[in-house]
Symmetry: C2
Subunit: 341 residues, 2 copies
């Protein structure tokens, strides 16, 4: 019922040997006699001795802990990602410290500082929506704390990144629709500042050009991600003549709003109008009228991959990494078709 965990010192006292002997005995050091080794190990078991990691961390300047900073655990994408991160970290005997930025830059900075002071060995980050400066991360690099970004990554090339390339998925999606006979394909993007929105538009144009279809930019619109914004976007698209027969939507949630609106307008889903979106949420299996297909972004895999990369970087900490060599890992999105009709 004592409130102190047993220490190496306590074992030493009880056996009347020195601290260093105990330490070595527990590490199976060759220079320790068999008898002593046995006695130490037995008493250690008996006292349920466990080394005090905080002391070891402190001494070794290594905590076997990685930090993860992401916007919001409440979002399926991020909780799946951290699921993957935790899995890999555990396999490598690392612990995981988490922080949510809640898309607030000040909070993000605060978390990073705290984690730095806690001497994490490495950091995985998905940026807050509003982060535009990266000095709080470059500060870490100076102290050999490697950083890997995933999903929401900085634009600058001077960082390690893992992210999904939606281009191939977008390409697949549009070609899928064209192959189904669609000629007027609408797009609902997210806010303009999102890189993914610009890329989507770009790929859209490329594919249409490659397939020698007419590009009508009135069919490319955006939503602020609110339900109302999505309704306005749909209203805009459906007022075009001729109407689009298919719409590519930024993600499944927004697609559901869009589908709801279309239904209210008495359109038959997958007949009058088709939807393809991104994320591939598990719930789509339960929907009567799911998007026809969606582009899976593999959040678990992205998280796991980011963690693997970080493990590598941490292992290489001794070798001076050549400056200017940053990993850039792209996970291709993949079109998952839900409904062939």
């Amino acid at each position: 019922m004592k409130d102190k965990l047993p220490t190496i010192k306590e074992i030493a006292r009880q056996l009347n040997v020195s601290i260093s002997t105990v330490s070595r005995a527990l590490h199976d050091h060759p220079g320790i006699g068999l008898r002593t080794k046995m006695r130490v190990q037995q008493l250690a078991r008996q006292l349920e001795y466990e080394p005090n990691q905080t002391a070891i961390f402190f001494k070794q300047r290594k905590t076997f802990t990685i930090g993860v900073v992401l916007p919001n655990l409440g979002e399926e994408f991020f909780s799946q990602a951290i699921n993957g991160i935790e899995e890999i970290a555990t396999q490598n005997k690392y612990s995981v410290l988490i922080g949510q930025s809640k898309d607030d830059v000040a909070r993000e900075r605060q978390i990073v500082t705290t984690m730095k002071n806690n001497r994490i060995d490495g950091l995985i980050v998905s940026l807050s929506k509003n982060t535009t400066t990266y000095d709080h991360f470059t500060a870490l690099k100076k102290f050999n704390i490697p950083v890997v970004f995933f999903d929401r990554v900085p634009t600058s090339p001077d960082f390690n990144k893992v992210y999904s390339n939606m281009n191939s998925g977008t390409r697949e999606a549009i070609e899928f629709l064209i192959d189904k006979g669609h000629r007027r394909i609408g797009v609902i993007n997210g806010p303009d500042q999102m890189r993914s929105s610009r890329e989507r538009t770009e790929t859209y144009k490329q594919v249409l050009i490659a397939r020698r279809l007419k590009i009508d930019l009135r069919l490319v619109t955006s939503t602020d991600l609110t339900k109302e914004g999505t309704q306005r976007a749909m209203q805009h698209l459906l007022s075009q003549r001729p109407k689009p027969t298919a719409i590519l939507v930024i993600n499944d949630y927004i697609a559901l709003d869009a589908i709801q609106y279309a239904k209210q307008q008495k359109l038959k889903i997958n007949k009058d109008i088709c939807f393809v979106s991104y994320a591939n949420l598990p719930i789509t299996h339960y929907l009567e009228t799911p998007p026809m297909a969606s582009v899976e972004q593999f959040p678990y895999k992205q998280g796991a991959k980011a963690a693997e990369v970080l493990m590598q970087l941490m292992a290489n900490d001794n070798k001076k990494e050549e400056p200017g060599s940053f990993l850039n890992i792209v996970i291709n999105g993949q079109l998952i078709v839900h409904s062939r009709r």
Copy 2:
């Protein structure tokens, strides 16, 4: 470009004062002259000195870190819970270390041990499905590391717990159905060992007795939570005569499977048969045929509350807590009606 963070010692060296003076100056200790204090603080800022928490933790035997062990971050319920936990922890300047047991007891024990060795100040746990012994947790109590369980809590009364009481929600749900005119109400429980299953059955009986309705225990069945198990459960219920007109289902996901099955049997949802379930997933808003109502369990709130309780317990660590006094906090589930038809 040096790879060592500045230390108090470095500041002392540069200013030619002692380490203790620097420490005190940084803490605004009264015994330090104004001049010295200013010089120290200025140099500290200039070097971007930040205290090495691992050293402080080690010395103070306090890490300002709490551990969270739960089955699976991939599940919405748990990711929302940890969202709440992280929020409260951050407010109190605590960091959060997470571990997923993946419903594996051995893994759970391993995580708890690691966290203990990392000298967490407190622990929040939602038990793995198969945990039946609690010695890995009682071990923590001996060392004054308080533990709070949430949602999946031990049966023993000797622990602090936060969990949702589904009884009132269940009562509301059944009364809601009775008020709608239903007289034959089925139940699909989870596996028998789940406490919630037994409680649900109990409340079911109580309400029916109170309302003077006949109890037919053939209408109470269970699923192993697989889709097939749920189909068997539905098959069983629908083969009863007279058929139930409403079914209470253990959670929304299972309800969706059940609804799918009912549709396949050409039953009209909310007409031939109604469903009420638990969890209140956001997706139900998008379903054409959602459960008629579901009992919200407030995972964010449960997590936040568990964290608050833990903070209190950690603050009380000095005062000997009277043995045998354990907190038992119940968060009442609440019926959310989706469809009034």
